[in-house]
């Protein structure tokens, strides 16, 4: 598996997990941050840097998975904001 397809798979997985955040703000931040971070490092070819980035991505994936669970257990409730319901339901 080349590093490009590996990165894409990881990207997809983090995004999928991030969408599960019950909190509107955390969910949006996680998605935005993941997207920006992967885009920013699109052109990286240095093997050492790639290795570091992969490690960081995997660590963050685990954090997202754990924190999604914590968020589900201690859910703060939905926001007033109409869009919230929309985003929550259709993502």
């Amino acid at each position: 598996m080349g590093s490009r397809s590996k990165a894409l798979a990881l990207y997809k997985q983090i995004l999928q997990e991030s969408k599960k955040f019950t909190s509107y703000n955390y969910r949006n931040y996680a998605i935005r941050k993941t997207r920006d971070e992967f885009r920013q490092n699109k052109e990286v070819t240095d093997p050492q840097k790639l290795k570091d980035l992969f490690k960081k991505a995997k660590d963050n994936l685990e954090i997202v998975q754990r924190q999604v669970l914590v968020g589900q257990m201690y859910d703060g409730g939905r926001l007033v904001f109409n869009l919230e319901h929309f985003v929550y339901r259709y993502w």
């Binding site: 941050k33 954090i63 997202v64 754990r66 914590v70 409730g77 939905r78 904001f81």
Partner: protein, 460 residues
């Protein structure tokens, strides 16, 4: 609903399945799922909930990041192990529980020191801003009392600084509260002259070499950064970094306090005390001599770990967050100011922290606007003073008119604020300010061209 369906599908599969082990596995999974829902905390038990508490699916948007910020999930992830498994006292030197906690606290100390460009030994943990400031102001003042007995501060400092100074006044110190310019920054020339005048009055100004070193206005909202170690400054450079923490790099101050409740971390504080040249403080709290004797009392491991991790995240995200905060802050400002006239932004337009927008809406009462904006969690000033209807003393110090100070509202933008939230806030604010102004007789008079300031109100 989706979850129900999923469970239903599982059950169907179970029914159709002939394989016993699959059946057991699926049943186990289904019950796991059910348990997860049952375990979820729905309503935290509070002693007494207010009658006007919004229902659970109607939570207001959070736009009060100056009072505290939501905890970053990364920070919580770093903290949780120290709440659950690793519960040792970091000062226990005789077993593994203590060692792991100590290592975690020291790592956090290093992370904090890295963020502010200090040595880990210069950082001590405290309970928060108030304690940090108390140690900084009273501790140093008392330590140097025999040599130096004049404290200089500004009128816009936080209550815990001003109150500590007041306590020092009672102990016989001389305290000068410097005035600030309308943009919230100390006017150096005026202050210098004022100080020289004061010292002439006291016939203390004998030696030129003891004169003030340059004082630099600091790049933040309503705060002073002073640099001087020869003059009679007892708080040489105490810096309130509370609300711009995470946006500062390499400060070289004598004392600096940081609180991570304002940086997506947990609620604990730290104080930076310079080692070279050394600044010494007298401990306020007597006890076991933790934190190099300056702050006795067991250090809360999980909170410190959270603070360290918040610093590490802040260091990594500083640029990214700053760019975004500026973007959102401009978006809010433009949306509001383009739609309604006579909206004044308090504070210096450039030398300010973009995540804090304090707006005064002329001819609108701040409290009634806050009531109207129920769907947004906002504040008219600091949380310490939010119980009173009095306008903020900081706004008074910067010379804001009484009516404008009364109509000010603070919008806070944080890491988790979104564009939609900004738009929603701006639209709602514009709508309600317009509505309230239409009701206001003062606004009507202004529209008719009457100068409100010229009116002589008769008293009854």
């Amino acid at each position: 609903m989706a979850r129900l369906f999923r469970n239903f599908r599982f059950v169907l599969q179970v029914v159709n399945s002939t394989n016993q082990s699959t059946k057991r596995y699926l049943q186990a999974n289904v019950t796991d799922n059910a348990q997860k829902v049952a375990v979820a905390v729905k309503h935290p038990d509070t002693f007494e909930t207010r009658k006007d508490m919004p229902p659970e699916d109607m939570r207001p948007l959070y736009m009060d990041t100056q009072s505290t910020t939501p905890l970053d999930p990364r920070v919580l992830d770093a903290m949780l192990p120290y709440f659950v498994g690793s519960y040792g006292n970091p000062h226990s030197r005789t077993h593994a529980y203590g060692w792991e906690s100590e290592a975690a606290v020291e790592k956090a100390r290093k992370q904090i020191a890295d963020l502010i460009g200090a040595d880990p030994r210069e950082v001590i943990f405290t309970s928060g801003a108030t304690e940090s400031n108390n140690i900084a102001v009273k501790g140093t003042a008392r330590f140097y009392k025999s040599k130096k007995n004049h404290v200089i501060t500004t009128q816009t400092e936080h209550k815990c600084v001003l109150d500590s100074c007041r306590a020092l006044e009672a102990e016989g110190f001389r305290v000068t509260y410097l005035p600030v310019q309308p943009n919230g920054i100390v006017d150096l020339k005026v202050s210098l002259e004022l100080l020289i005048y004061l010292y002439n009055q006291m016939e203390l100004l004998t030696n030129k070499s003891k004169l003030l070193l340059p004082v630099q206005p600091m790049n933040n909202d309503l705060k002073l950064r002073a640099t001087n170690r020869f003059f009679y400054w007892i708080i040489p450079y105490l810096n309130d970094a509370q609300n711009q923490f995470g946006h500062i790099i390499n400060m070289k101050d004598d004392l600096l306090y940081i609180v991570d409740k304002n940086d997506f971390g947990q609620r604990v504080g730290a104080l930076y005390i310079r080692r070279r040249p050394r600044v010494r403080v007298e401990a306020l709290q007597s006890g076991g001599g933790q934190e190099r004797g300056m702050r006795s009392g067991t250090v809360p491991t999980p909170l410190c770990v959270g603070m360290g991790s918040a610093c590490a995240v802040a260091m990594e995200e500083m640029e990214y967050d700053h760019k975004r905060t500026v973007e959102l802050s401009n978006r809010l400002l433009h949306k509001v100011q383009d739609a309604i006239p006579q909206v004044i932004r308090n504070g210096d337009p450039d030398m300010t922290y973009p995540g804090c927008i304090n707006l005064s809406f002329a001819y609108v009462e701040g409290e009634s606007l806050l009531m109207a904006l129920k769907d947004i969690a906002l504040s008219s000033g600091s949380a310490c003073t939010s119980a009173s209807l009095e306008p903020s003393y900081v706004l008074r110090a910067v010379g804001a008119d009484d009516d404008l100070a009364h109509s000010s509202i603070r919008f806070g933008i944080g890491r988790f604020t979104t564009e939609e939230e900004i738009d929603y806030t701006a639209d709602l604010t514009v709508k309600h300010v317009t509505r309230l102004r239409e009701m206001s007789p003062l606004w009507e008079m202004v529209q008719e061209g009457i100068d409100i300031k010229q009116i002589k109100w008769s008293q009854h």
